[in-house]
């Protein structure tokens, strides 16, 4: 498994998590290069199908990052995210996809270090889980 290079997507809300990822950069906090950010306006606009699409295309893990509860730029958008993602995880589990490949977390615009930590730990977790079995199929 030494040459397994996990490929991971991260949906980051524009207002907090994307800015947190930028702050990590500005602070030059080094992290593994496996996570690719897709910017969305709010974590609440991450449709489950985006995540499913990524996973069925062989992506090894998906992070959904939003503002901390109470800090969503759209007030309570992330309350919905907090309900949706666990539901999505359940569905994926039912479908035989390890739900640990999906992770929801909150990263504020001031938390460059937390972003680094979340990314580093998630890459490690996915490394442990091994490649997404759907990699070979890609439907």
């Amino acid at each position: 498994m030494t040459d397994f290079k996990p490929s991971i997507l991260a949906f980051c809300c524009n207002w907090c998590s994307y800015a947190g990822a930028d702050l990590a950069g500005v602070s030059r906090l080094q992290m593994p290069p496996n996570v690719h950010v897709i910017r969305v306006m709010c974590s609440a606009s991450v449709k489950p199908e985006y995540v499913i699409k990524a996973v069925t295309q062989g992506i090894d893990g998906v992070l959904v990052l939003g503002c901390h509860i109470g800090d969503c730029h759209y007030l309570t958008g992330n309350h919905r995210t907090a309900k949706r993602i666990p539901l999505l995880q359940k569905i994926l589990d039912e479908a035989g996809i390890d739900s640990r490949r999906i992770k929801l977390d909150w990263v504020s615009a001031a938390e460059g270090e937390k972003y680094q930590k979340v990314v580093t730990e998630f890459v490690e977790e996915i490394r442990r889980l091994g490649p997404n079995p759907l990699r070979e199929v890609r439907f």
């Binding site: 990590a24 080094q30 290069p33 950010v37 306006m41 606009s45 985006y50 699409k53 295309q57 992506i59």
Partner: protein
């Protein structure tokens, strides 16, 4: 990218430009390799690399390139779009590129600066840019939303902040509705006996005090023809969006309705209620708050004589001030510092020493905070005048045998003190005004960790506030001077908006597809901004319609819609999926 031919935009051409950022990117990412890899991709008409696209030379370069190659869409691989993005695309926009056909890919903050291995960073940048290329082809040309701003303002709260804002806006010629829920204007400052830093008549100039040489401000407000003052009145409801909001006010003589273009929230603060903390013994008549002491001082001014304590009218000879009551300790109220309490308590202590020359006045403090000009001198004068400063927390205030005691620690002397006290004054901190959460909800404002209204970074473009400003203590504890500053800056922003009369907002709003929408109304239920209504579709059914002024573009409705009818412009399913696929192509190997 070979499977891209079936889509209309396949014909459209992309200009791809990579920025070295004066080495900040090119040191960590092999841009030439990326350019080589991507130049042969269909739709990519031209690939260019520049030292600094945001510089004047870079902007000229982009303009020339646009003229020379005439591409319809552009992808820029450079810094974060949230940092310099607004600048980088400007040149292309000037040369006729629709700004909605532009995608800036972040290869600096989220790539070059965080990955030490040039090969890996290059591979990631390639994937990110590929995602951007795929995405840009799905974007549609668009115009900004133009919003008109009604030329009238609502100011909620008639304290110093609200009055100052109202006066400024009125002076600029606009109609102002000034709403105050009590029976008089002036707010807290009006009830203070003296104020820092003059230790005299308030800088707000509204005191009854005889020394006041300035024109009382309340009169100015009442006499201004452009200001309609509504006393004993509260907001009933607010409807509408940026630039045009319909206000219903509950006034003593029935409801009152009007429309405004802008709003300033100046609801101020309330003070912490010490009865929540039994160790303070606030139920004892001679344990009072600083607010109550103000009333005693005002009473003394009117009546003459000395200060009289509440229980028996005796002139107090030993007085203890307790600082940070309800502040700086989450377990005992709030975590935030109320900023003005050290200052005003010192002012009150000085006044007491002056009124009762043989009194001993202690101030028990954790540390003194007065980040104001003149504070150090004020503090020094208090020490000269005999005020005793004791560093340390108090553990309790208790009564026994008809006497009042303060048990305190003096950390400088390393001693525990039991001080018999005639009067104890609690320097209570500030919290958001009663009911301000209702206003926050009606206006969709955000609050901060301290529950006060969030201070939006003033560097953000003014459109971010959607015509609503919070000022003064509504935005956190502060002194009068700073409240006035706040009021003036909010007023000037509001005036500018109303003078311009219109504002352009990026069109990142939801849109319902009339063919897919079944009128189920799920989106209506989830939208917090009341931006969606169901309208007749002309065929006997209903469809969703989004008010693009009210919609803030969060995308919550798009997930709620089971029929894929609702999308956010620029973030529709194909647009996000294209981005995902672009990343998968390169990263998922």
């Amino acid at each position: 990218m070979a499977d891209n031919t079936d889509n209309d935009s396949a014909k459209s051409s992309i200009g791809l430009y990579l920025c070295r950022c004066n080495g900040e990117i090119s040191k960590y990412i092999d841009l030439d390799r990326i350019a080589d890899n991507l130049k042969s991709i269909e739709n990519v008409k031209v690939v260019g690399i520049h030292d600094a696209l945001c510089s004047r030379e870079g902007q000229t370069f982009l303009k020339e390139e646009k003229e020379k190659h005439g591409f319809e869409r552009a992808v820029i691989g450079a810094c974060s779009p949230n940092i310099q993005g607004i600048i980088v695309g400007k040149a292309l926009e000037e040369k006729g590129l629709n700004k909605y056909l532009f995608e800036q890919v972040n290869i600096r903050e989220q790539c070059a600066w965080v990955h030490p291995d040039i090969d890996k960073a290059t591979a990631k940048a390639l994937a990110l840019i590929n995602g951007g290329l795929r995405r840009v082809l799905t974007l549609e040309p668009m115009e900004d939303v133009e919003i008109s701003i009604l030329p009238s303002a609502l100011v909620i709260g008639g304290g110093v902040t609200g009055m100052q804002a109202a006066l400024d806006i009125a002076a600029a010629g606009f109609k102002v509705y000034l709403l105050e829920r009590t029976e008089e204007l002036g707010g807290r400052a009006y009830k203070l006996s003296m104020t820092f830093p003059t230790h005299n008549c308030g800088i707000c100039c509204m005191q009854y005090c005889k020394e006041c040489v300035f024109t009382p401000k309340i009169e100015d407000v009442l006499q201004d023809e452009k200001i309609e003052v509504m006393l004993n009145s509260e907001i009933e409801s607010i409807e509408g969006g940026f630039g045009n909001r319909h206000i219903t006010v509950k006034a003593p003589d029935g409801p009152r309705e009007f429309d405004v273009g802008t709003i300033i929230v100046a609801t101020g603060s309330k003070t912490f209620d010490p009865s929540d903390l039994p160790e303070l013994n606030y139920s004892s008549p001679d344990v009072i708050t600083t607010v109550e002491l103000e009333q005693l001082i005002v009473k003394q001014r009117e009546k003459g004589g000395s200060i009289e304590r509440p229980s028996d009218g005796k002139v107090p000879k030993t007085i203890n001030f307790i600082q940070c009551v309800g502040s700086r300790d989450r377990a005992k109220g709030n975590l935030h510092c109320s900023l003005v309490c050290c200052t005003y308590a010192i002012g009150q202590a000085r006044e007491l020493v002056k009124l009762i020359p043989d009194a001993t006045v202690y101030i028990h403090y954790i540390d003194l905070r007065g980040p104001y000009r003149g504070f150090e001198e004020f503090y020094d004068a208090a020490k000269q005048e005999g005020v005793q400063f004791v560093r340390g927390r108090i553990s309790k205030i208790y009564s026994t045998g008809g006497k009042l005691f303060v048990r305190a620690e003096d950390t400088d002397a390393g001693a525990l003190l039991e001080i018999e006290s005639d009067l104890v004054v609690l320097s209570v901190g500030q919290e958001p005004a009663q009911g301000s959460e209702k206003i926050v909800e009606m206006l969709h404002l955000q609050t901060d960790i301290d529950e006060f209204i969030k201070d939006i970074n003033p560097m953000f473009p003014p459109e971010f506030r959607r015509g609503i400003y919070a000022a003064g203590c509504a935005q956190g504890p502060k002194g009068i001077r700073y409240s006035i500053d706040d009021a003036k800056s909010a007023a000037s922003e509001v005036i500018r908006l109303m003078r311009d009369g219109t504002v352009k907002m990026p069109r990142i709003t939801a849109k319902a597809d009339e063919f897919r929408c079944r009128g189920c109304g799920r989106c209506v239920d989830v939208c917090q901004f009341d931006a969606i209504t169901l309208i007749e579709d002309g065929k006997g059914g209903q469809i969703a319609k989004v008010d693009e002024v009210r919609c803030e573009g969060c995308g919550t409705c798009t997930v709620a819609c089971c029929n894929k009818a609702m999308t956010i412009i620029g973030y529709a399913i194909p647009q996000v999926i294209a981005n995902v696929m672009g990343l998968v192509e390169e990263a998922g190997q």
